[in-house]
């Protein structure tokens, strides 16, 4: 495997749920009012006073086996650069089959275009010489890592080798490329 495979790793230990990633994404990508491509999920377990809380900054998992791609009738949902999952607005009819197929609830219709919108892994930046995504760049706790999962020297590969990590809904069988560090 030598082709680039972009992936994301979020450190749940340092993420404070501030949602800077959400706001930076919205302005970088001109996301429609009322919608967002990434979001914060918090899960609390235990009961007072023995509690644990996990915080995750979540978005499209850019699955290797993406049901949104296979279900798309027009080819609008497709695998783009670095194995990311992208949507071509002009090909999207807004049929929402992908919304139903996505186990991560990562997609929505942009009311301005009627087409599907979702996280692109900021491919317009990464393919044009800015190595970071907007959410990663803004993050005040540096909890978001982005890079080539096929490059063993990349920060994301190193983190996945050295830290305990998990993906969401692995049983969905979509081979997500978004991981969370415990």
């Amino acid at each position: 495997m030598s082709a680039v495979s972009y992936g994301m790793v979020v450190d749940t230990r340092t993420c404070v749920a501030c949602a800077a990633c959400v706001i930076a994404c919205k302005t970088e990508n001109d996301v429609a009012e009322g919608f967002s491509r990434d979001w914060i999920f918090t899960a609390t377990s235990g009961s007072f006073p023995n509690l644990e809380m996990e915080i995750r900054s979540e978005r499209c998992n850019h699955c290797e086996d993406a049901p949104c791609v296979s279900v798309c009738p027009t080819g609008a949902s497709h695998y783009g650069p670095g194995g990311t999952v992208q949507v071509t607005e002009s090909k999207c009819t807004g049929c929402k089959a992908c919304i139903a197929a996505c186990p991560y609830d990562a997609r929505f219709i942009d009311p301005r275009t009627g087409a599907i919108d979702k996280c692109t892994f900021c491919v317009h930046r990464v393919e044009n010489g800015t190595p970071t995504t907007a959410c990663q760049e803004v993050c005040p706790t540096k909890s978001i890592y982005f890079g080539d999962l096929n490059d063993p020297e990349s920060e994301v590969s190193r983190l996945l080798r050295t830290r305990q990590a998990y993906a969401l809904l692995p049983d969905a069988g979509t081979r997500p490329k978004h991981f969370f560090l415990k």
Binding site: A19, K26, F41, L51, M53, G80, T93, R112
Partner: protein, 743 residues
């Protein structure tokens, strides 16, 4: 929360057309897929610094076709380090807020009824100048008071000093940070300032007392907090609520509200008793160790347990963790510390604990900050006035207050509260007093007594509706301001630059101050053409390159040693020249020279009532940002945190709407959903401050959630410096459904 819950479909006329464009007969798959570029990179990128809160992070504003598209952190800036908090990233939500004040307005009806007439700047300033001159002639300059919050306020303060009024107040003192500054000053001879000189990133043990870093998003502190987590620091969080910081901590101490000083004393007891303190440091630098060790002998963990609810074993183990990591143990001084009226003494206890651990001036404790010195602009000198500020009945009240008390100025406006009413008129700059000063009814009462009220603001906040003249200010992205040269780890100077010209008929604060100054006969105080020329003059006097400043937004100074071990001077500006564990100054004034704890003074909530606690959401700076459409999308309204067992007793469901009513029968204007959670003690409820807004023209946030400040009808004043302890109110629940049926 599931993301879908906050997704709403906006109203966009263009949606239908775009869908129709897809209904052609092409077979879509056969065309190549382009990479779509949202095109938000600016054709210009302007460095400046942020004003969404008061930390002042360096930003890079992208401007495309005259519109600010996005705001990034300035990597050259020592506060942002290229990263931003959500508020900083959402600054365009303020700039393009459709509810912004657009034109100067003059009241045409009684106060409280929002009947205004739009007028020209000339007319509006004429009315203000006339009133300023009249007030001075009839009552003296001191009868005009300024309330100010935010960096642009510097121009108004300058105007007031030139005018000759000593009544320049900022709620950020007596309603927020004041007790901390006084407590640390009494101990180390200097306060911690803003940005605080806390060396969080190098701490090996970090103790947070009610300080909810991560929800309180002072950017650099949170960056450093994440570093501390990554470095494996032992984090101890003391908070009645399981805050985000608590979730990152090895120890969460869910303390009974109001008892923090008891815990601090017990920690001192263990740290001294078990010899965990820094003997050399204390011997060399501290005064009064003998008295302190005698004083804390009685405050054992067993003594503290029934008061605080924290088990003796936990108190001992956390004290040992602090001792083991010293001097890289930072007991954080907090920021909003006006809680219970004994706040200076609690801050003193925090300072003393740090002194015992030897953390002041040490790596991982408090660094010694330095500053780039810039000569002041040469003015003729402010008019001499021997007028005392009107905020206290006698100078001997709150003797260690070193700034004007905002609530005192408010009280001095009402006849009979602080002697005769000495204050006749207010200028309010960027501080929405009805949600800032405790007991808004009292504030409204004072406003009704005023001869004249002028407000300078960006948004139609509550205070605007009560004003006689409203002056719409340009936002921080539309103006150049005073230079910023903080005391910090890396000394530097930053400049705020005009990113885009002011929208509508808004004007920058410097222009408003200068035009008023000219009209009231003080032109010599405003000799500069504009704030840019002003800043340039000062920079050149300091020998700094204005072109570099314009291009980079910051200029770094020479770094100085940060720690005693690196050569920073161990100088303490107390009377004894030492760290005062025992304070002769407090003793001389008749206060406890060392902190004590009086459990009998702690009021318990009545049956069925819960202590009202309030704090922050990371996307908001109190009410200043809750109308920001970008930011409030993430946190639309606040919720009432209710302990799960309490909710069960009341039969409250998660998400059910309630009103809160306090011990004095004051009911919240609006309702909020209940958040049923294990993350708070059963004797307290919590809301995020800044919601429940009553100003009807804040269309996005009006009526959303509950305003805690409305329910703060009582407060306890710190006898040492006059801070208003506001965590002393109790609330009960009223089901929204029941109330609606009844009405």
């Amino acid at each position: 929360m599931k993301r879908r819950q906050f997704i709403r479909v906006g109203s966009y006329g263009a949606a239908g057309a775009a869908v129709a464009g897809g209904l052609t007969t092409d077979w879509y798959g056969r065309y190549a897929n382009p990479i779509a570029d949202p095109g938000t990179d600016g054709d210009r990128v302007v460095p400046s610094f942020c004003e969404l809160c008061f930390w002042k992070c360096g930003i890079l504003a992208h401007v495309k076709d005259g519109r600010v598209t996005k705001i990034k952190g300035n990597p050259k800036d020592p506060l942002s380090n290229g990263q931003l908090c959500p508020r900083g990233a959402g600054g365009t939500g303020l700039l393009y807020d459709p509810d912004r004040l657009q034109k100067p307005m003059v009241r045409r009806d009684k106060r409280g009824a929002q009947v205004f007439e739009e007028v020209s700047w000339d007319d509006a300033l004429g009315v203000v100048a006339e009133n300023f001159e009249r007030i001075k002639a009839e009552h003296g300059a001191g009868a005009l008071a300024l309330f100010s919050h935010g960096y642009g306020g510097s121009w108004m303060k300058h105007l007031f000093k030139a005018y000759g009024s000593p009544n320049i107040a900022a709620p950020s003192y007596a309603q927020c940070r004041g007790p901390r500054e006084v407590g640390f000053d009494l101990t180390f001879g200097s306060g911690v300032g803003s940005p605080e000189n806390t060396d969080i990133r190098n701490a090996r043990c970090l103790v947070l007392i009610g300080s909810h870093l991560g929800e309180n998003m002072h950017n650099t502190q949170v960056q450093d907090f994440a570093d501390a987590i990554r470095n494996g620091a032992d984090i101890i969080t003391v908070d009645p609520r399981h805050s985000v910081a608590a979730s990152k901590s090895r120890w969460w101490l869910p303390i009974k509200p109001g008892t923090d000083t008891a815990l601090l004393l017990a920690w001192m007891n263990v740290i001294i008793g078990e010899g965990l303190y820094d003997r050399d440091y204390v011997e060399q630098y501290a005064y009064g160790f003998e008295q302190l060790s005698e004083h804390v002998k009685a405050f054992t963990p067993e003594w503290a347990y029934p008061r605080t609810g924290i088990e003796p074993d936990v108190i001992r183990r956390t004290a040992r963790a602090m001792g083991a990591a010293r001097p890289a143990t930072l007991v954080h001084p907090g920021r909003h510390v006006t809680w219970y009226g004994d706040d200076t003494q609690r801050s003193r206890a925090i300072a003393i604990l740090n002194a015992l651990l030897g953390s002041w001036g040490r790596k991982g404790g408090f660094f010694i900050p330095s500053q780039v010195s810039i000569p002041p602009y040469e003015y003729p000198g402010y008019l001499p006035h021997d007028d005392q500020a009107a905020d206290r009945p006698a100078p001997s009240d709150y003797p260690l207050a070193d700034q004007v008390l905002a609530q005192g100025v408010c009280d001095a406006t009402v006849p009979g509260v602080v002697g005769d009413s000495r204050i006749k008129a207010w200028m309010v700059y960027g501080s929405n007093l009805p949600t800032t000063l405790p007991d808004p009814e009292n504030t409204y009462k004072a406003i009704q007594e005023l001869d004249f009220l002028v407000t300078v603001d960006v948004l139609p906040a509550e205070i605007v509706g009560w004003s006689d003249v409203v002056l719409p200010e340009a936002t921080y992205l539309e103006r150049c301001d005073e230079l910023f040269a903080p005391w910090w780890r890396e000394p530097y100077v930053a400049v705020r630059q005009e990113v885009v010209p002011p929208m509508y008929d808004s004007k920058p604060g410097w222009w408003i101050a200068r035009e008023l100054g000219k009209r009231i006969g003080l032109p010599e105080f405003f000799p500069w053409k504009d704030s840019e020329e002003y800043a340039k003059t000062r920079l050149e006097a300091a020998g700094l390159d204005c072109d570099v400043m314009r291009a980079d937004g910051v200029i770094l100074g020479e770094p100085a040693p940060l720690y005693f071990e690196e050569g920073a001077l161990p100088e303490f500006y107390t009377d004894s020249g030492k760290i005062e564990l025992y304070s002769p100054k407090l003793a001389a004034l008749g206060f406890d020279p060392m902190p004590t704890y009086d459990h009998s003074a702690l009021e318990e909530p009545p049956e069925g009532y819960y202590r009202l606690l309030f704090g922050r959401a990371p996307v908001h700076t109190f009410g200043r940002t809750t109308n920001n459409r970008l930011l409030s999308e993430v946190y639309r309204e606040n919720e009432v945190w209710v302990n799960r067992d309490v909710a069960r007793r009341w039969g409250l469901e998660d998400g059910e709407r309630v009103y809160l009513q306090n011990q004095d029968g004051k009911r919240s204007s609006f309702s909020a959903p209940v958040k049923v959670t294990g993350r708070i003690r059963p004797d307290a409820v919590y809301v995020v401050h800044g919601y429940g807004r009553r100003a009807p023209k804040l269309r996005f946030v009006h009526g959303k959630g509950i305003d805690d400040n409305e329910l703060i009808t009582r407060y306890k004043v710190d006898p040492i410096m006059g801070g208003t302890g506001m965590n002393v109110n109790f609330v009960t629940f009223l089901r929204a459904d029941d109330l609606e049926v009844a009405s």
